[in-house]
Symmetry: C2
Subunit: 277 residues, 2 copies
């Protein structure tokens, strides 16, 4: 199902009226990410019986937002990263103004994507609400702010969980919520899918913390040991490697248990959750 | 009509989950701007017979977007401005990461505003489309990119008009289009209102170029003679002060003429257009 989606998403870029801006947007969007968030949108819609193409606009929107967040997080004033997914970061490949603006454009255009398509206006408006709530000042951006404020100081376990619930968890939950909205899930299924997404999101972050210390830069496609270099609190720094692996396994079990409580055939989503195994 | 609006807009900020982020968002949003874009949204809705409160969500959304664009334009990597509306710019008052994130949050939350309220979902979805198109890679952000690329080189008259149509014109047109959408304007009225907004937007930019050379920093609430300092092409550098004033007057006449061709009582919008006189 992803080739059709990728083509749809790339077409959504063609609107830009400035060549350099469009080049920079495409550079980061096509930098070889896992497309995890679109995959969650599409898979959730599909297990609920929807045509996957009906979820392409929402899936494109969330990948635009994820991509913008990486560009801005990598900026010199933020994490000052040189490498992302094995390629130079946007401000290194282009320059800082271009990276800021490419991020701004991807974030804005995400909402053009979210309202596009043939779904009823109420479904598209709800998709916009889900995305904006998850990505904005009470979601992902708040998480990034907590992350900047938390650098170079020790966070408690509660503070760390709050940070990740906002910084990475909110958008992963939004991906599943978008799919549930497009697929017209029942209230009970929405609740279990949301609980699944919360567990998956937390597990995803714990896995990221583990890989930062266990994998090489080549394996990661970005610099490794960055958390220690930036003196960031992680699940590994708080619980040790073994403790972090145990917590990862707990979230994996919780994610699968929630899926099994829905009323639909969740095979596709269960396969995605195996990423945590 | 504006006190009720200001209260509505300030309430839209209370959602943030991070105190520093929220403080920075409020600092720039409440920095004493003219509220021109919300005023255009509300005035257009009102001349079409709509309840102004029905346009508060869209009016808040566009002011959030305008405010984010100022914060990001002022960043060290962009215009590197120290002063805005007589106050320190966001990255000077706070720091650069906070300014980047406050801008990102305002831009994202704008779309939470745009889909809020009791209007039919089709109207709210169309408001999102109008805003995202005007502010994104084929609108305002493209204009800002052209502006960065055009610094330190001479632009032709056509290039300058293209730049301003994107950088400032698109959002002013969006303000009127939002009001027309909320007010349910006829296709003919939408066309004349859009032409009015184009003329007003161009006149607004010419006036800005004129004031940069004729007013003091205290009068402007920001540094003056910035265009010359940044070697930017302006209507004054292309046509001289007298020529720029003539072009401003032409756009003023055009704006009023378009208003007079609508089917409604345009008194309130005509009064706003007098800003150009």
């Amino acid at each position: 199902m992803l080739p059709g989606f990728t083509q749809y998403m790339d077409n959504a870029l063609t609107a830009s009226h400035d060549d350099r801006l469009k080049t920079a947007m495409a550079y980061s969007l096509d930098a070889g990410g896992k497309r995890l968030r679109p995959l969650l949108v599409l898979a959730t819609a599909v297990v609920l019986g929807a045509d996957p193409a009906s979820a392409y606009p929402a899936a494109s929107a969330i990948e635009f937002i994820h991509t913008y967040s990486l560009i801005h997080d990598d900026l010199p004033a933020m994490d000052n990263a040189q490498l992302r997914r094995g390629k130079l970061t946007s401000h290194v490949q282009f320059d800082e103004p271009t990276a800021i603006l490419a991020g701004d454009a991807l974030l804005t255009d995400a909402f053009s994507c979210a309202v596009a398509g043939d779904l009823p206006a109420a479904v598209r408006a709800e998709n916009v609400r889900i995305l904006a709530q998850a990505a904005g000042s009470s979601g992902m951006v708040a998480g990034q702010m907590m992350d900047m404020e938390g650098s170079h100081k020790e966070l408690t376990a509660t503070e760390l969980a709050t940070l990740h619930r906002h910084k990475t968890g909110a958008l992963l939950r939004a991906a599943v919520a978008l799919g549930a909205n497009v697929g017209g899930a029942s209230p009970a299924d929405r609740m279990h899918l949301d609980n699944f997404a919360s567990a998956f999101g937390l597990g995803f972050q714990i896995k990221d913390d583990i890989e930062d210390v266990t994998e090489t830069a080549a394996e990661l496609g970005k610099s490794n040991n960055q958390d220690a270099a930036n003196a960031k609190t992680t699940y590994v720094s708080l619980y040790g490697l073994t403790g972090a692996k145990e917590q990862l396994h707990q979230q994996y079990e919780r994610a699968q248990a929630e899926l099994n409580q829905t009323s639909v055939d969740v095979t596709v989503l269960a396969a995605i959750a195996d990423y945590l195994a």
